[in-house]
């Protein structure tokens, strides 16, 4: 009787230890959690999971690694399995064990699709890969035109178009025969300024790209757009036609050609939506072309597709943005 009582007391104490450790972990007091959970019995699966998590969170990835791997694979509790997987990835990223990180991330994404914490780790892993590659490129080939090209692309994403253009020019100077540099320079110029001189300069760059690669349909298309912007609609048409011929899967030139030929717009636009079923502009233009032809039912059908494509994406970030500015509920 007394022996049974002692067992009950011991079990109660062990359960309390686990509960205290988990609570400390939940508060973010990882060192405290680790100290408590190290006293928990090895047979307590929950205690062992949170001990491994606490170790991982306090720099003890080596000690935690095997347990995390085991818990991620076998823990019957989905929530604990998820935590173990995320901790395993975090340890892998910290210790640069990318070969272990990617399979774990694949598993996590399959098991917890749309999970913000999982997606955050995915983003971190990609960023690390990017950082490592950029570091190597800058360290091992600092004189390469690729350094300037990459700098230009980064500056472009930051909206620093003049700086981006300067980097592309340096890249072209180093390797005048490299493809895509004149195109990127032309596009940066277009984004940088709206002055007529800038448009001309951009046009020259797209022409230079075409001189290197006469099959570049996008460069051909950009020239058409520049001419269109300069109110030279007739001069733009051959460029759109050529772009469409160079790449039969390129829908945008078809849209531009449809604008210049209202009578023949419908077949062009029907081809465009077939090529790119998710192209909003194509569906919009086709809706109006049907409307203008008196094909009301067809126009309504296209409108329904356009409305669906035009709907803002739903998701946590969108919801978050929608709520910004609203007063918290009392």
């Amino acid at each position: 009787m007394r022996g049974i009582s002692l067992l009950v007391i011991a079990a109660t104490l062990a359960a309390q230890t686990t509960a205290d450790g988990v609570a400390a972990f939940g508060r973010g007091h990882y060192t405290e959690a680790r100290a408590i959970l190290e006293k928990a019995p090895a047979s307590d699966a929950t205690a062992q999971t949170f001990l491994a998590l606490s170790r991982a969170a306090t720099g003890g990835c080596d000690a935690a690694r095997n347990d995390l791997t085991d818990q991620f694979a076998h823990n019957p509790d989905a929530a604990q399995r998820r935590l173990a997987g995320i901790a395993l990835v975090q340890c892998g990223l910290a210790q640069n064990r990318m070969a272990e990180v990617w399979p774990a991330l694949d598993q996590l994404q399959k098991a917890y699709p749309g999970d913000a914490d999982v997606l955050y780790e995915v983003a971190k892993a990609h960023r690390k890969g990017w950082d490592d590659a950029v570091f190597q490129l800058y360290q091992k080939s600092p004189g390469s035109f690729r350094v300037n090209q990459l700098s230009g692309e980064i500056l472009e994403t930051e909206g620093r178009y003049a700086d981006a253009a300067a980097e592309y020019r340096k890249a072209i100077e180093k390797n005048p025969a490299a493809l895509n540099l004149h195109f990127r320079l032309g596009r940066s110029l277009l984004l940088q300024s709206h002055e007529a001189a800038n448009l001309k300069e951009a046009q020259k760059e797209f022409e230079a790209e075409l001189a290197l690669n006469p099959s570049d349909a996008v460069a051909e298309f950009e020239i058409g757009k520049i001419l269109q912007g300069e109110q030279k609609a007739a001069a733009a048409v051959p460029h759109f036609e050529k772009a469409a011929a160079l790449d039969p899967n390129f829908a945008e030139p078809l849209l531009e050609l449809a604008k210049t030929k209202p009578a023949g717009a419908i077949p062009l636009l029907e081809r465009a939506v077939k090529l790119q079923p998710d192209n909003q502009s194509a569906h919009y233009a086709l809706m109006l072309a049907y409307r203008n032809a008196g094909r009301t039912a067809d126009a309504q059908r296209e409108k329904a597709i356009f409305d669906k494509l035009n709907r803002p994406p739903e998701g946590e970030f969108t919801d978050f943005l929608k709520k910004l500015g609203e007063k918290p509920k009392q």
Binding site: E158, G159, R160, A162, Q192, S193, H194, E195, Q228, G229, E230, Q231, A233, L255, K259, Q280, S281, H283, Y284, A285, M287, L288, R291, N292, A299, Q300, K303, F306, D307, N310, P312, L321, K322, K323, L324, G325, E326, K327, P328
Partner: protein
């Protein structure tokens, strides 16, 4: 001798077709500055959107007076037109000096049919309806009229219109978004609070939508909110700014078009019986020709191609084209911006705009005013600027416009962060002037110094069975080979109010052959052989 020389110079300028707009605001007495948030940086979106301007003849002396809306820290002001090219500040005298706050838009009409034009001013906060008491003072009747709002709202464009043709001017009020400085993120707080790498005021993207409001005029000095019942409240995913009214589908009922920022613009088609249906997408006026939502700000309606149908022009953000929509009839429009020659100016953020025939050749020209929302953009040293000049397009006929800004005088070269713009021939000399509300600066008053020899006529309509301001009246003027149409409308441009009178250029015609008026009541009136170069008052015949 000196006078004769000056007259000769003006004649020569006109003979040569020279266009010269000068800013005469200072000499006209318009020297007060109208604050609207920061000049170097702006913390919140409310600093970016104000404010409007209005021409209205509040004392019925035949001379359009001026009202300018102020942001926080200033007073919206009323100026009396003294008739000698000067305006006198009568804000206090007319008892309009009591409301302060973030003033946004203004519209005007005689809502109580007492013969005096009343004023409605929108705010981020509470709107104000000012009843004009015999042209002697304005009385704030907002609460009595039932226009007090239940919460702080970001009201922007407004327009009076008689949507049910009951002879009383109803009221449409656009709402931009839900804004609370206590909870709105700070510049740079999230990815939507950046512009070209600069941390800037957040919004509109990321801020909660609000919906537009339609008030029905009960005919007893009060209004009823009919937004839900009419269908006006249904679209709730739009950031609404400029408002213009007109019969866009030719069914005789007044419709409403709203320029929306970063979201599809709205076309409320009046179905009759107090109902509206939003049909901008299929109408072709929600997006640009590529189906992309623009950042619509201001909007103007006018028959630029002389086909008798009101077309639409919308001003947009930088890196976007302005948008010209040609009315095909039946509420359907084509976007013809590029074909009309308007696709080049993509570096401006456009606001106030209007069709007006500055050279009286019988073809409505187009002016828009500009200025970026973010003062911070000047730090980039690029060709997009916080303060920029207006743009004047001459209507060449054949559906084409030509940008003549560079040769249209020093007034158009001045750089301001302009917002509202209103149009009126304030001195009744046949040349239309433009009033522009600039952020944190005195207004601009653009006046032509080189006058054209072309003829003109201005029509002031007064309803009897129709609403007194004749809102919704359609006018067709035929002079020789020229036939033009226009509607009487309140609101328009960017949060602004043009003169309620209609101005028509007549070219070489020294008289008007026919003036045809379709009154909102359904009555038709025809005037024959009307002399040109004057203001003609037309009162709706009583039954």
């Amino acid at each position: 001798m000196r006078w004769a020389g000056l007259a000769g110079a003006v004649f020569l300028a006109a003979a040569a077709g020279r266009v010269e707009f000068r800013n005469v605001a200072a000499e006209a007495g318009l020297t007060a500055s109208f604050p609207n948030g920061g000049n170097q940086s702006k913390r919140f979106i409310v600093e970016t959107t104000g404010s409007g301007a209005a021409f209205l003849d509040y004392d019925n002396d035949g001379l359009p007076d001026i009202f300018l809306v102020s942001g926080e820290g200033g007073l919206s002001r009323l100026y009396h037109n003294d008739g000698n090219g000067r305006f006198t500040d009568v804000t206090a005298k007319m008892e309009l000096d009591r409301a302060t706050g973030w003033g946004q838009g203004v519209c005007a009409a005689d809502y109580d049919n007492d013969g005096y034009t009343d004023l409605f001013v929108t705010y981020w906060g509470q709107n104000h309806l000012y009843r004009n008491v015999r042209g002697e003072r304005f009385e704030d009747v907002t609460a009595r009229a039932g226009l007090r709002q239940d919460r702080v709202r970001y009201n922007t464009g407004c327009a009076f219109l008689d949507y049910d043709r009951d002879g009383h001017a109803d009221l449409f009020v656009a709402n931009y978004l839900k804004f609370d400085p206590a909870t709105t993120p700070q510049p740079g707080a999230n990815p939507l609070c950046f512009y070209r790498g600069l941390a800037v005021a957040c919004g509109p993207r990321g801020l909660p939508f609000d919906r537009n409001i339609l008030y029905h005029n009960n005919g007893d000095g009060t209004f009823t909110d009919v937004s839900e019942a009419s269908g006006v409240a249904a679209p709730d995913q739009n950031y609404s700014l400029g408002v213009v009214t007109g019969d866009f589908n030719g069914d005789g009922l007044t419709d409403i078009y709203v320029a929306c920022d970063r979201t599809p613009s709205l076309l409320y088609i009046n179905l009759g019986k107090g109902k509206f249906a939003e049909e901008a997408v299929l109408g072709g006026v929600a997006f640009d020709a590529d189906g992309r939502a623009m950042s619509g700000m201001g909007v103007a309606a006018g028959d630029y191609d002389g086909d008798g149908l009101p077309d639409l022009f919308r001003s947009n953000f930088s890196d976007e084209r302005e948008t010209l929509y040609r009315n095909r009839g039946g509420g359907e429009f084509d976007e013809v911006t590029a074909a009309a020659g308007l696709a080049r100016n993509t570096r401006y953020v456009g606001w106030g705009c209007g069709f007006f025939d500055f050279d009286n050749d019988g073809r409505p020209d187009l002016l828009l005013v500009n200025g970026h929302v973010f003062p911070e953009v000047d730090r980039l040293g690029i060709d997009i600027r916080f303060r920029d000049h207006a743009i004047l397009y001459r209507n060449l006929g054949g559906g084409k416009f030509e940008d003549i800004t560079a040769s249209a005088g020093p007034g158009l070269a001045e750089r301001q962060s302009a917002r509202g713009a209103a149009f009126a021939d304030y001195d009744n000399d046949g040349a239309v002037e433009v009033l522009i509300n600039n952020q944190n600066a005195p207004p601009t008053l653009l006046r032509q110094t080189a006058k054209t020899a072309n003829h003109w006529i201005t029509l002031k309509l007064t309803g009897t069975r129709s609403n007194r301001s004749a809102l919704g009246a359609k006018v067709r003027v035929v002079a020789g080979a020229l036939a033009q149409t226009d509607d009487v409308r309140s609101g328009g441009s960017y949060l602004s109010q043009n003169d309620l009178r209609l101005h028509f250029g007549l070219g070489a015609a020294a008289k008007v052959d026919r003036v045809e008026i379709e009154w909102p009541s359904g009555g038709r009136q025809v005037l024959l052989d009307v002399g040109a170069d004057r203001v003609v008052e037309v009162t709706e015949p009583r039954p």
